[in-house]
Symmetry: C2
Subunit: 431 residues, 2 copies
């Protein structure tokens, strides 16, 4: 039986998961693909670090060149995370003729253009199933299964940390801070959760998905991002009163105006299937012109699901390798600076506003007057009597469809009023 | 650019869908895969039949040999349905060295063993994504994306007709007959809906999925099947009162006892995500030892979704063809007569019973006495007073876990009692 040698860069959570999967399923994989996979080398930073998964010493190295220059190693999995040295390693490996598998969304979302180009030029396989959606095989589905479709839109909940926090806040009446603390304790949030909370992690992922769907690389820095840092339990509850659940959405759609790609917390109508995605689960909705709606749901992160995705890519790499074959399906083209990305300011949404105002007659009429002047029309209002918060009471409104630019102007004006005690909360409604 | 010639067998709904997809996306596919696909020939039964999709006359033939013996045709899609001549054609095509794509679940579910074996022997690609779940790429996911997993279980709603009927009955208070009539009018049920209603269509599909998951062909005739023909609106409503929704489930799991593969209508707890799968949608839940739970959801049938699946297989066939490469991932092995399939009689479920009894004191105690004698313990009972139905009133019970064999014996005895006016309705509860 032919043996194929693999190396891993990194032995953190994902690396350990891949190693464990390999240990458990090596025999099964031999039966299924008729090839023996061997994890020959693993690059680590600190060789003295104790690891409990029983990797033999001779597999461990701190020297990247030992892997890159080993002609017996055909497939290398980059599982380190972070931009550097991961990006340089991926380039070096492709140049050295390796098949490369990576779980690195940050590198792909920022440098995907040059990396896809390099892989194409070298006729190499570049697998990145683990970069989005953990074990959910969304990359394979977009690249291969839906190839007969024009993808019209993608809508996803693709960050487990924020979905966990939003779910726990609403269902268990927790403040943002308490829910975040709990997420950290349960291992659903990292010590520094900034990337998740600010929406950047979702932006990385939707950048990759949009690039696959539309065939051209769209770097994450060109994507509008809004996180959940400023979400208040009160807003989740008001939204629920109106029949909506707040979710952090990642969206990519092609419209007549151009490409609309963005990450933002939004009010989803309760009967939308994505509102049933709770806790740390992820889900991705894809609409294709032939397939219609397809929804994929599963664990979007974690050691075992991510290892499952990496192994799927390893087997694809073996397929390509085994027959000296380069991938037929093209990678996204290089970034197109002229690509028509629709600014969020030019987009139209319905809105949720929560004003913090003094409890005095005439306030509602003043606010609605300003909104009217900017052409914003109101569909429902809830005004609640005296609150515990000293002096300020909330007025909550839902609007009809409005261009975002108008909303920004109106809220600037409203927040200047002396009857307004705090910055107005604004959330978009997803219809 | 290299051109690859394709033929279609059949120009019914699916054939037309594939032709339309090809017309619309030929250029897009050239860009994506660098190969020009040409539908060169289409086999039809009746050449005089008028078709509105503008297929040029010279592409149409009634002679299978014209396709099978044409060395310029590399990929043939069997889209005729039915066992014969489809099965013979698939065999002939594989023997002639063609790459074969089929949407034929009936042929695969009964003769998959020999067909997979033939494809393996000939080193041919056999695509069958369209045989299960319409546009939902469940075959690719089981075969490729989850290859690093031991699949523990599959649970699906994989028949749109029955799901449509069950949804409409409960939500719109329709009788089975009226819901079926409506499904026919909307094109969700065929003129002869027997295959769907009896659960056989679901059995075909779970046979294919189980064969992929467990690596050995399990023909549909070895699978326990129960359809929805005897479902009464009353039962859907009682179930709902207890917090359950009735769905036609297809299930395949590996347990210590062996393989449990079956199709049956079951009460699903309302908080189970599959209860949110409404109307003609399908969903498939897969549990793998590394990936955890993955759910796939979409349109399980229809012209366009099925065409999307066929095109995905065509592109895979092109990949294999283009590099003289046979599929690395093995097809399921030939049927194993000694495979331990657990009989439903030996399985343990909780149950829903609806007894039709005379409205007289002592009835409940008589029935529960018989159940007790068979070791069946009751978890809840609803007894409803006088009903419109002459003389008979329903008693509805949910039981604790019981071996099915006990239930069969107990109900036989109960149905003999003179206080019992009609055959007892029995449904399993899925936990």
């Amino acid at each position: 039986m032919i043996r194929i040698n693999i190396a891993l860069l990194g032995l953190g959570t994902v690396g350990q998961g891949v190693y464990e999967l390999w240990l458990r399923h090596r025999e099964r994989l031999r039966e299924k693909v008729g090839v023996d996979l061997e994890i020959k080398k693993i690059l680590v930073r600190d060789i003295s670090k104790r690891r409990n998964i029983g990797v033999p010493d001779e597999k461990i190295t701190v020297n990247f060149e030992e892997i890159c220059q080993d002609r017996d190693i055909s497939i290398v999995c980059e599982l380190m995370g972070g931009i550097e040295p991961a990006k340089t390693y991926i380039r070096r490996l492709l140049e050295a003729g390796k098949q490369v598998v990576t779980a690195n969304k940050a590198v792909l979302a920022e440098y995907g253009g040059e990396i896809f180009e390099l892989a194409t030029k070298r006729g190499a396989y570049l697998g990145f199933e683990a970069s989005v959606g953990g074990g959910i095989p969304v990359i394979k589905i977009l690249r291969e299964a839906l190839i007969g479709n024009r993808v019209e839109s993608i809508l996803g909940i693709i960050n487990g940390t924020t979905n966990y926090i939003l779910t726990r806040m609403l269902e268990n009446n927790l403040s943002f801070e308490r829910a975040l603390e709990e997420a950290k304790q349960r291992g659903y949030a990292e010590a520094d959760p900034t990337l998740d909370l600010t929406g950047l992690d979702s932006a990385h992922k939707i950048s990759i998905l949009a690039s696959l769907a539309f065939g051209v690389f769209i770097p994450s820095h060109r994507i509008y991002v809004e996180g959940i840092n400023e979400i208040d339990l009160m807003d989740l509850k008001f939204a629920k009163q109106f029949g909506y659940i707040v979710k952090l959405l990642a969206e990519a759609r092609e419209s007549r105006k151009g490409f609309e790609i963005r990450v933002y917390p939004a009010l989803l109508p309760e009967n939308h299937i994505l509102t049933s995605i709770r806790l740390n689960y992820n889900a991705i909705y894809i609409k294709g012109d032939f397939v219609g709606d397809v929804l994929l749901y599963g664990l979007g992160a974690g050691k075992e699901p991510t290892a499952s995705a990496v192994m799927s890519d390893i087997v694809s790499a073996v397929e390509y390798l085994r027959f000296n074959k380069f991938p037929l399906i093209k990678y996204p083209l290089r970034e197109d600076k002229d690509l028509r990305l629709v600014s969020v300011k030019d987009s139209v949404f319905r809105y949720y506003f929560r004003f913090s105002v003094v409890d005095r007659p005439g306030v509602l009429s003043k606010i609605s007057g300003v909104l009217g002047n900017h052409g914003i029309s109101i569909s429902s209002v809830v005004q609640i009597g005296r609150q515990i918060r000293k002096g300020a009471v909330p007025i909550v409104m839902l609007t009809h469809e409005t261009r975002e630019e108008q909303v920004v102007k109106a809220l600037e004006e409203i927040d200047q009023l002396d009857i307004v005690k705090a910055k107005t909360k604004r959330l978009r409604i997803f219809e």
